[in-house]
Amino acid sequence: MKNIYKPIKAVIENITEETPNIKTFHLKPAEPIEFRTGQFVELTVPGIGEAPFTPSSDPFVKDKMEITIMNVGRVTTILHNMKPGDTVGIRGPYGKGYPVDDFLGKELVIVGGGVGLAPLRSLLLHLFNDMDKYKRVSLYYGSRSPKDMVYKRLLPQWEKRKNFSLTTTVDVGDGTWTGKVGLVTTILKDFKVEKNEAKAIVCGPPIMMKFTTFKLIDEGFKPENLYLSMEKNMSCGLGKCGHCRLGKYYICKDGPVFTFEQIKDLHDIWD
């Protein structure tokens, strides 16, 4: 019988600095790990502990995995001090991921906040695999400041994709920033999509998710077409340890992606 608490060994092959406190770890697992975009894994530092992350890499690539991590806590601080060649562990993948079949033939509005662009990158790489399957993909990305934007090196490549548009904004600009300034909700307007048909996919910090949801509903998007990445302290990933309960759901096994329709009547969803 499988030991569900045992991680697969993985070696850090490379580390990319995205921002002063966000790094992307390029991992080579000892055996291929299949995941669906939007599913998450528990990344382990042996002897220290584990933490949940959604891979930011292409779900069609199974022998490698990239995970973009912000330095915010005990495990992530140690991860940020690790070097290429160091060993970590991966458990998972867990959860249901994005219901990508529901996106076929649709106009997709994707909204990312800060490091929340990481899971969305994996979704974009899934979509980029065959953009003819979708009517149009519009990415809206907001970050605190220009230096807090992740994947700056990748954004120009993404913009070249057909049926794709990118709009970025920062909360606060700096001397070099010539783009839009303001919270991500300020760029969520003048949509050229059929709003009661389009799918909106949102990932970011809770406060951003909350106001983005309200804004999109105001704009005419339907609750059942709004896909939100919910987060709590997922520990086991299997719906057993009890920590990530959200109403009648466990985020780890019933999510982490929920439609707003599924959760809008539950208590304290933005806490």
Partner: protein, 344 residues
Amino acid sequence: MQQNFYLKRDQLSSVLSEISKSHALFCPQKKDDDYVYLPWAQIQSEEAIYNEYRGVEPIKSFLTHSKEIVNEYFNSPDAPAEAKPLAVFGVKNCDLSSLTLQDYVFEQGVEVDPIYKKRRENLLIISSDCTGFKPTCFCLAVGNKPYPEKNFDINLSPINNGFVVEVGSSKGETLIRKLNQYFTAATTGQIAGSKIKRDNIVNDLNRHLATVNIPPANALQKNIQEGYDSNVWKEQMLTCVECGACNFICPSCHCFLLADEEKQGRSERIRVWDSCLYANYSKVAGGANPLNTRAKRLRNRFVKKFDFFPDNLGQFGCTGCGRCIEACPAKIDIREVLKSLAKK
């Protein structure tokens, strides 16, 4: 196989002694007003004791441990080590009901917990009818009977000079076959006698519960839902010292924490029982803590038991054993919380 047998009272110790040859057997032993579980080897000099009501320890403590190693990292074997089968005598229905919940958590869902499954398969449950109750018992108020209905291997229902023995599983059937010299077919009179005793204990407990006045079982979920913003959570939480005793002693509570430890250069992953009353229960990296007050944490406990589990499993996450009432140093009483919510 016929499902009801008769065992003479003075043969009980012999049967348990036989079971102890192939199982690590735990039996209840009277201590003040309580029954505590001890290994058979420590009590076999005396006669086996038939406990009137549930023991101190919940059945879950035989299936998950308060702290245990679940993984020794990349070299860890996949399957858990073989262990001597375990037998527990005198398990009551409040604990048997909780097994449905523990099984749901650990054996069903996206993956099976191999450690639990192994112990569960290895566990022989010799249950018995309640012949008395503690003042804190309230199983009938949450829809449970004071006698076993399922989740046992064999069950003992006492009659005058012995027990009507019911077989509840193939494991129980094998046991009866193996020890057939002790068992005879139960007569209809004996079976009828055990039923009368069951009716009597139900009546006695109902009379007691009438003085406690817990809201009806079919109103509990609705009361919790409607009382979400009630002051009851704050009022009832004033004395909580966040010790977690209510969780650890609860046969239904199943939450655990995974943590890593390093010992002499070896990394181990441990699993420890967790308490939703602890301040950091819901805290995430970065500092956010959805359950950041004791009132929210108490509410979370009740929502989980009386709203989440009815929705997901069709039964309460409370079997009415009353252990949390006795364990709480702050005198927070689950029955009083349910009553206060109904009043508001």
